[in-house]
C-alpha cells in the first residue's frame, strides 16, 4: 500500500465524516430533546393499533420530519426506547431519509424530471421500510431490552455543584437544563459517531481498493448491474441527499440498477450497519440489514421491466 493510497483513504474517510456529522449531530440533539421533553406516552397512545395505521404514521413522519439516515438512527432508538411501536419507528427510520421533500426534489432534479425514477425510489423505499418494520416487531416482541444502551444519558451527579437544586434560581435551573440537553446530545453523538468513523474508514478503503474495472464489466447485464450497484451503495456510504446525483452519473447501467443504488444506500451502508448493531438488539440489526437488501433487489428487478 502506497503512502498516496493511505492519504486518499484518510481524505475520503474524513470527507464522509464531514458530510454526515452535521446530520448525526442534529439527530442526536433531536433524540436528546425527545428524551427530555416529548410526551411519548401520549404520542404512543394516539398511534393506531392496526399495522396499516402504524405504517402510515411512520411514513407520514418521514415526509413531515426530514432527517438524514445518520440522524434517524439515534432518533428511532430513542423513540423505540420510549415506547413508540416498532412498526412506526422502524418504518420512519428507514423511509425518512428518502421520502422527505428535499430528497424527492433532489432525485427529480438529478434525473431531469423523470417522474418514474422519483416514484420508483419512493415506493421501493416505503415498501421495504414497512416490511422491515413489520418483521422488526417480532424481534422486539418482548419489549425494548432493558440492558440496551438506550438508557437515558444523564450528566454525572459528581459534577453537580455543592449548592443544591432547591437553592438554585430559576435561571440557574434553566441553564442547567439546557446544558444537560446539549451534553446528552453530545453523548448520543459520541455513541453513534464511533460507528460513523469506523464505517467511513471501511468505505474509504473499499473505494480505493475496489477493482473498478470488474465493476464496470459486471454492470453489463440487468440483474448483475442491480447487484453491483446495490453493493456499491453499501460500500460507498453516499448521503441520501446526494446519492441521486451519483446514481444519475452511472450512465452505463440500466435505470433499475440506478434505482437499486438510490433505494438501498439510504437504508443500508457500512456506517449504518455499524450503527444498527450498536443501537439495536442483534436480531433486529440483522433484520435491518438483510430485509431491505432482499426487498430492494426484488422490487428493483421487477421495476426493471417497468422503468426503461
Amino acid at each position: 500500500m502506497m503512502l498516496q493510497d493511505i492519504q486518499l483513504i484518510c481524505r475520503i474517510a474524513v470527507s464522509i465524516v464531514l458530510e454526515a456529522a452535521p446530520f448525526l449531530l442534529f439527530g442526536s440533539l433531536l433524540s436528546a430533546a425527545v428524551d427530555r421533553y416529548a410526551d411519548t406516552e401520549r404520542i404512543a397512545s394516539r398511534i393506531p393499533q392496526g399495522a396499516l395505521g402504524r405504517i402510515t404514521v411512520g411514513l407520514l413522519g418521514g415526509m413531515l420530519m426530514p432527517i438524514c439516515e445518520c440522524g434517524s438512527v439515534p432518533l428511532a432508538r430513542r423513540l423505540l426506547g420510549k415506547g413508540i411501536p416498532p412498526l412506526s419507528a422502524v418504518t420512519y427510520m428507514l423511509a425518512a431519509p428518502v421520502i422527505n421533500p428535499v430528497v424527492v426534489l433532489s432525485t427529480y432534479v438529478a434525473f431531469s424530471g423523470n417522474f418514474q425514477m422519483v416514484a420508483g425510489r419512493v415506493f421501493i423505499v416505503a415498501g421495504s421500510a414497512a416490511l422491515t418494520g413489520w418483521l422488526c416487531c417480532g424481534c422486539l416482541r418482548a419489549g425494548w431490552p432493558a440492558d440496551s444502551n438506550c438508557s437515558v444519558s444523564r450528566p454525572d451527579v459528581d459534577h453537580l455543584h455543592s449548592h443544591g437544586a432547591q437553592s438554585m434560581s430559576a435561571d440557574g435551573r434553566n441553564c442547567r437544563t439546557v446544558l444537560d440537553l446539549l451534553s446528552s446530545g453530545a453523548s448520543e453523538f459520541l455513541e453513534m459517531g464511533k460507528y460513523l468513523v469506523l464505517g467511513a474508514l471501511a468505505s474509504a478503503a473499499f473505494k480505493v481498493f475496489l477493482p473498478w474495472q470488474l465493476v464496470q464489466v459486471l454492470a453489463g447485464s440487468m440483474s448483475l448491474s442491480i447487484v453491483v450497484l446495490m453493493l456499491l451503495a453499501v460500500l460507498l456510504c453516499v448521503c441520501s441527499e446526494a446519492d441521486a446525483f451519483v446514481a444519475a452519473s452511472f450512465v452505463y447501467v440500466p435505470p433499475a440498477a440506478q434505482l437499486g443504488f438510490m433505494a438501498l444506500g439510504a437504508m443500508v451502508d457500512l456506517k449504518l450497519i455499524g450503527m444498527y448493531f450498536g443501537a439495536f438488539p442483534k436480531k433486529m440489526a440483522w433484520t435491518l440489514v438483510i430485509v431491505p437488501m432482499v426487498c430492494v433487489f426484488g422490487l428493483t428487478f421487477l421495476s426493471g421491466y417497468l422503468v426503461r
Partner: protein, 263 residues
C-alpha cells in the same frame, strides 16, 4: 480514569468543531467537500463547539474506550488528510473564499479563434444530455491524462477531471477520449490543456479498463464522442483539481459553475 476519558471525548467533539470551522475558512475545503456545503459545515462546527463545551462542563453517559479510540483515529486521519492536502497547491493557509464571485468569461481566444471553456466532466455530461450537441463548437478543457490498453488500441487517451457532487466519497473522474496528431508524449497523471472539437465515434466504444486517477479511484469516459485535439499543452496541477458538476449542468448555458478554476 472515567473522568479522563469523558474529558477526552468532550475534547474530541470540541476539536471536531474547531477542525470543521478552520477547514471552512481555507481553500482546502474544496478537496473534501463541495464548497456549496460550506454554510452547513460552519453551522455544524458551531453546533459541535457548543455541545462539546457543554459535555466538558457536565459530561453525560458512560465511557467507552472504543469510541475514544475511534475519535482519536479520526483526529489522526484528519491530520494525515490535511498534511496530504498541504503538499498540493490547495493550501491550508487561512484564506476565505471571496464573498462575491465574478462570473469569468466563458470563452478563451486562442490563435484568433474562440474556445468555450469546459471541464472534461461537463463535456461528459453535455454529451450525455445531447449526444448530437455542438459538433462545430471549439472547446478548451483541462484535465488529467489516463491511458489504458483499450484506449491505446483506439489510438486515444482519456482526459478526466474528478467530479464531486457532495463530498470526496462520491467523486467520480469523468471525461472524454482525446486523439490528435502531434500529441506530445504523455503519461498517466499528467495535467494538460486541450484545445479541440468534439467528434462522434463511428460506434460506441465502452472503456472498462480505466481504473482511478490518483485523485479519484473511479473513472468514466464518454463512449460516444472524442475530442480531436488541435493543440495540447502540459500544465501544473491546478489549485482546485476537482469540479462540482451535476448531471443537469450538461444542459445548462455555457458558463463556469465554479469560477475561472472550473474548466
Amino acid at each position: 480514569m472515567k473522568r479522563a476519558l469523558l474529558a477526552l471525548d468532550g475534547a474530541f467533539v470540541l476539536g471536531l468543531g474547531l477542525y470543521m470551522l478552520l477547514l471552512t475558512r481555507t481553500e482546502a475545503y474544496a478537496a473534501f467537500m463541495n464548497p456549496r456545503f460550506r454554510p452547513l459545515t460552519v453551522a455544524a462546527a458551531v453546533g459541535f463547539l457548543i455541545v462539546g463545551a457543554a459535555f466538558l462542563v457536565r459530561p453525560a453517559g458512560g465511557t467507552n474506550i472504543l469510541r475514544t479510540l475511534c475519535f482519536a483515529a479520526l483526529g489522526m486521519m484528519a491530520l494525515s488528510a490535511s498534511a496530504g492536502t498541504l503538499k498540493g497547491p490547495v493550501g491550508f493557509a487561512v484564506k476565505p473564499p471571496p464573498e462575491v464571485r465574478v462570473d469569468p468569461d466563458p470563452y478563451l481566444v486562442w490563435n484568433g479563434d474562440r474556445y468555450l471553456k469546459s471541464n472534461p466532466a461537463r463535456l461528459f455530461l453535455s454529451v450525455q444530455a445531447d449526444p448530437a450537441a455542438q459538433s462545430d463548437q471549439r472547446y478548451v478543457t483541462r484535465g488529467i491524462v489516463k491511458r489504458s490498453a483499450q484506449l491505446d488500441r483506439l489510438g486515444k487517451f482519456a482526459l478526466l477531471r474528478g467530479n464531486m457532487v457532495c463530498c470526496l466519497a462520491d467523486a467520480i473522474a469523468m471525461g472524454v477520449m482525446v486523439a490528435g496528431e502531434g500529441v506530445p508524449p504523455l503519461r498517466d497523471g499528467d495535467w494538460i490543456v486541450v484545445f479541440g472539437r468534439l467528434q462522434p465515434l463511428p460506434e460506441a466504444a465502452l472503456i472498462t479498463d480505466l481504473g482511478g486517477t490518483g485523485e479519484v479511484p473511479f473513472s468514466m469516459v464518454q463512449d460516444r464522442v472524442f475530442l480531436t485535439a488541435e493543440a495540447i499543452e502540459k500544465m501544473e496541477r491546478p489549485r482546485f483539481p476537482y469540479v462540482f458538476e451535476l448531471p443537469s449542468s450538461g444542459k445548462g448555458p455555457p458558463r463556469l459553475t465554479g469560477g475561472d478554476d472550473d474548466y
